[in-house]
């Protein structure tokens, strides 16, 4: 009985990594995340989309790094010691790094803790409540998509 109840919860909840971008908390579906690395030297590539910072060497592989702030039309990044690059694994297109100001924690959000939104801007597909905190859930496809 207890086991069964647990299973039901497992099925309905998803794990998110909570990150800070600016003063907002964002949640990224953990199934997209391949790796989280410290800030490192990003090699600028001339004449590319403005919201890309460049490329990094991730253990011998070249990975493009995107500024999620610039993509969402926010102010320039300021890199601190808590800045991280989150490496997303996107089907077909491969790995992509996005820069966040801080990685906070991993949370479990069940379906009834998530409020679906459709008109809250196209980078977000829902808002999760975790305790007192509000977490904007990132729509990865919108971030990966071309265009502003």
């Amino acid at each position: 009985m207890a086991n069964k109840a647990l299973e039901v919860i497992e099925k309905q909840s998803k794990q998110y990594i909570v990150v800070m971008v600016g003063n907002e908390q964002y949640g990224i579906d953990i199934s997209y995340i391949d790796n989280i690395v410290r800030m490192q030297k990003i090699t600028r590539v001339p004449r590319i989309q403005p919201y890309f910072n460049g490329i990094i060497n991730l253990r011998g592989e070249i990975v493009s790094v995107m500024s999620i702030r610039k993509k969402m039309g926010l102010e320039e990044d300021v890199f601190t010691h808590s800045s991280r690059i989150i490496i997303l694994k996107i089907e077909e297109k491969g790995a992509l790094g996005i820069i966040v100001d801080e990685v906070r924690e991993v949370v479990n959000l069940s379906e009834d803790e998530i409020e679906k939104v459709s008109n809250k801007g196209r980078f977000i597909n829902g808002i999760g409540t975790h305790g007192d905190e509000l977490i904007s859930l990132l729509e990865i496809n919108a971030i990966v998509d071309e265009g502003q």
């Binding site: 600028r44 590539v45 590319i48 490329i55 070249i62 493009s64 995107m66 077909e92």
Partner: protein, 703 residues
């Protein structure tokens, strides 16, 4: 029937046979009486039939069988080769190719029966035999039967009972004894495979499969591994433990196609017979003795076998020095070599950093040694990946022949340098662009027969394809002796289409105008044919070739002909590059595009049409400031001397101004990935010894 493991071999060999057939049929068209060619075609068709049969591709087998029949008649002089027959044969080849495509995609031949072609083939035979199709069809078919009938009549005398001389080793003897104790009979068989049979190992596999349904195979001679590796002439022997009749097993083995004969009989081994009869106690020493006897024998045998094996290993490569290797395995090997080179580079950079700890003499020596090894390892791997372009260009004569008929123009294709080698990945992708250029030559390049006669040119037009190596590039020229490109017409068309303005047109050189042909949707064809002229033409050719890191140029002379020159890099993954710096950014320039490096005083810079140029040894060379190309602002203070890397693309030169040279390095090319919009001036990135990333400049785009 599980034959999937032979599918790849089947596909490869079928391809080879098809190419061979195509070549031979072309030959036959020119020289219909050539008996050698006819025999060759017959053999190839026969092999195809056999292979298709083994793999269970019935439709393909049927078609090739009827093809073979036609050649049977040609061989016996009942049919003369004529052009409609050649056409039909080509149709057959296309049909077989269709089957093969299906096999490649779905491991199945598909459902197309090609009845029309088969009917036409049979009509040929019927016509030859004066309306007695039944007899003709029966004749060749009855032959194999007669052969089969002959064989047993001949008796197994012609076929040695080689299994009698097979000596099982200890483990095998034990198995045999075990089986006899279990009340099973041991039979020995020697199976003879047809000498001309392809895929002998597959045949053996099928025999084993059939036999194993009736009993257990205890002993293989040669070993099962050798049989699988096709290391046997035309026969192999097996011992089978079974409760079935000997004849039944022979029957089963013979049911496999292209098995010539199977001979067999009971094995009466002393140890095997005595063992159950006598007391266990007494047997023990006897068996041991037997065993030690066998041991002595088997000790002697491996030596002779070893020698024999060696002899074979030495002898065999003469006939077959190649192995087929999956390209993925080579890619994996290549990646590992790339990793090794990166690791080596990082050692080099540590050693040259000279932090004191590493100033050891022997350390440097070892680094140099490592450098030599990685370089030669890289070269070897590259060489393994190199294949002659022959595999691609071999189909072109047939294509030109078909085009010649379709367009009703007389033309011949002359090819040289088919043995020129390129990286496998390049070869795989160069087929389409070349084919397009050839079609272009045939369709637009060459004039029709009357025009050529009127112009006093030879009526038969010439199309040529020349391939050769030039430095680190391979050049493939495709051209014709046709009318050439009418530059004025191109110009007029470009203005009409709004591609350029009239003012622009006036300032453009002839070469620049001709290059407009490479723009998307710029077709010069007056009428659209199904051969070319849909406007998806030269631009696709160019983008395909550029995707391979090459480029294409065109030279034309009105009335004389046109030549397209395709330039391709020998290798893709690892190149020698010159590392340069602009401020603190590092860029790599492929060494093969660099002609020389100059130190130019700033005062020597001249201006032509407001662009910077330098005058160097009689040539005017435009300057490209790398800082502008990569969007870094100009230096606050212009130095007195500029470091200029002179790069070359065909006949064009350009000077790239950089801040500093860092030296030459072997670099591994990595893709920028799919997220960053390719801006073309950067063709990729590489990881340097210290882990830093440098971008690779594509100078071809800059010029």
């Amino acid at each position: 029937m599980d034959v999937s493991q032979y599918l790849e071999i089947f596909i490869d060999e079928t391809n080879e046979h098809l190419q061979n057939l195509s070549d031979c049929i072309m030959e036959l068209e020119k020289d219909p009486e050539n008996m050698d060619t006819i025999n060759e075609i017959f053999r190839a068709a026969h092999s195809l039939k056999g292979m298709a049969g083994t793999m269970g591709f019935k439709r393909m087998q049927h078609l090739t069988h009827d093809m073979e029949n036609v050649f049977q008649e040609v061989r016996s002089d009942k049919i003369k080769v004529n052009s409609s027959m050649i056409d039909l044969l080509f149709k057959c080849l296309d049909a077989i190719e269709g089957y093969l495509e299906n096999v490649k995609e779905s491991s199945d031949e598909g459902t197309e029966d090609n009845e029309l072609i088969i009917k036409e083939l049979n009509d040929f035979i019927a016509a030859a035999n004066g309306g007695a199709p039944a007899a003709a069809a029966a004749a060749p078919e009855s032959k194999p039967e007669a052969q089969a009938g002959e064989a047993p009549a001949e008796g197994s005398g012609g076929y040695e009972r080689k299994y009698l001389s097979v000596k099982p080793d200890d483990a095998e003897t034990a198995k045999i004894m075990e089986a006899t104790e279990a009340g099973k009979q041991i039979y020995g068989f020697t199976v003879y495979v047809e000498k001309e049979c392809m895929l002998k190992a597959a045949r053996a596999f099928l025999v084993f499969k059939a036999v194993e349904e009736l009993g257990q195979i205890l002993v293989y001679s040669p070993s099962s591994a050798d049989i699988e590796a096709e290391k046997f002439e035309s026969d192999f022997s097996i011992f089978v433990a079974t409760t079935e009749e000997c004849d039944k097993i022979i029957e089963a083995a013979k049911s496999v196609s292209e098995i010539e004969e199977v001979v067999g009989g009971e094995i009466k081994e002393e140890s095997g017979e005595e063992a159950p009869a006598e007391d266990a106690k007494e047997t023990a020493p006897a068996v041991q003795e037997e065993a030690s006897d066998l041991h002595a024998e088997s000790a002697a045998k491996p030596q002779s076998q070893g020698a024999g094996g060696k002899k074979q290993a030495v002898a065999k490569p003469v006939t077959n020095r190649t192995v087929r290797v999956d390209i993925e395995k080579l890619d994996a090997l290549m990646n590992q070599v790339s990793e090794l080179i990166i690791a080596k580079n990082s050692l080099v950079s540590i050693s040259s950093a000279g932090s004191g700890d590493f100033q050891d003499q022997t350390f440097h020596e070892q680094i140099e040694y490592l450098e030599r090894i990685t370089t030669s390892l890289h070269e070897s791997v590259m060489k393994v990946r190199m294949v002659p372009i022959e595999s691609v260009v071999a189909k072109f004569p047939r294509m030109i022949r078909d085009l010649s008929r379709k367009l009703d123009k007389k033309m011949d294709l002359y090819m040289t340098g088919e043995d020129t080698e390129l990286d496998r990945t390049v070869v795989d992708q160069i087929g389409d662009p070349l084919q397009h250029l050839l079609r272009n030559s045939a369709d637009h390049g060459l004039e029709d027969n009357e025009t050529r006669r009127a112009k006093g040119k030879p009526e038969v037009g010439s199309i040529f394809l020349n391939a050769f190596q030039e430095g680190n590039n391979v050049i493939i020229q495709v051209g014709d002796d046709g009318n050439g490109i009418d530059v004025d017409a191109v110009r007029a068309k470009a203005i009409e289409r709004g591609v350029i303005t009239e003012e622009q047109a006036e300032s453009m050189s002839q070469k620049e105008i001709v290059n407009l042909l490479f723009l998307p949707s710029f077709s010069m064809a007056k009428k659209i044919t199904d051969i070319s002229g849909r406007g998806v033409g030269l631009d696709v050719v160019r983008s395909n070739i550029e995707a391979l890191g090459g480029d294409v140029e065109v030279a034309t002379e009105l009335g004389e002909g046109t030549t397209f020159t395709v330039r391709l890099p020998l290798t893709l993954a690892i190149i020698q590059a010159l590392m340069v710096e602009v401020r603190d950014e590092k860029y790599a320039i492929a060494l093969n595009s660099i002609s020389n490096i100059e130190d130019i005083p700033v005062k020597d810079i001249k201006y032509v049409e407001a662009s910077e140029v330098i005058h160097l040894r009689g040539k005017v060379i435009p300057l490209i400031r790398l800082e502008e190309v990569v969007d870094i602002g100009p230096k606050e203070e212009e130095p007195e001397h500029l470091t200029v890397v002179i790069v070359q693309k065909g006949d064009n030169l350009a000077g790239i101004v950089v801040d500093r040279l860092m030296g030459q390095q072997e670099i591994v090319i990595k893709s920028l990935g799919k997220f960053i919009n390719n801006n073309k001036i950067i063709s990729g990135a590489t990881i340097l010894g210290d882990g830093e990333v440098a971008l690779i400049l594509d100078v071809n785009v800059l010029m």
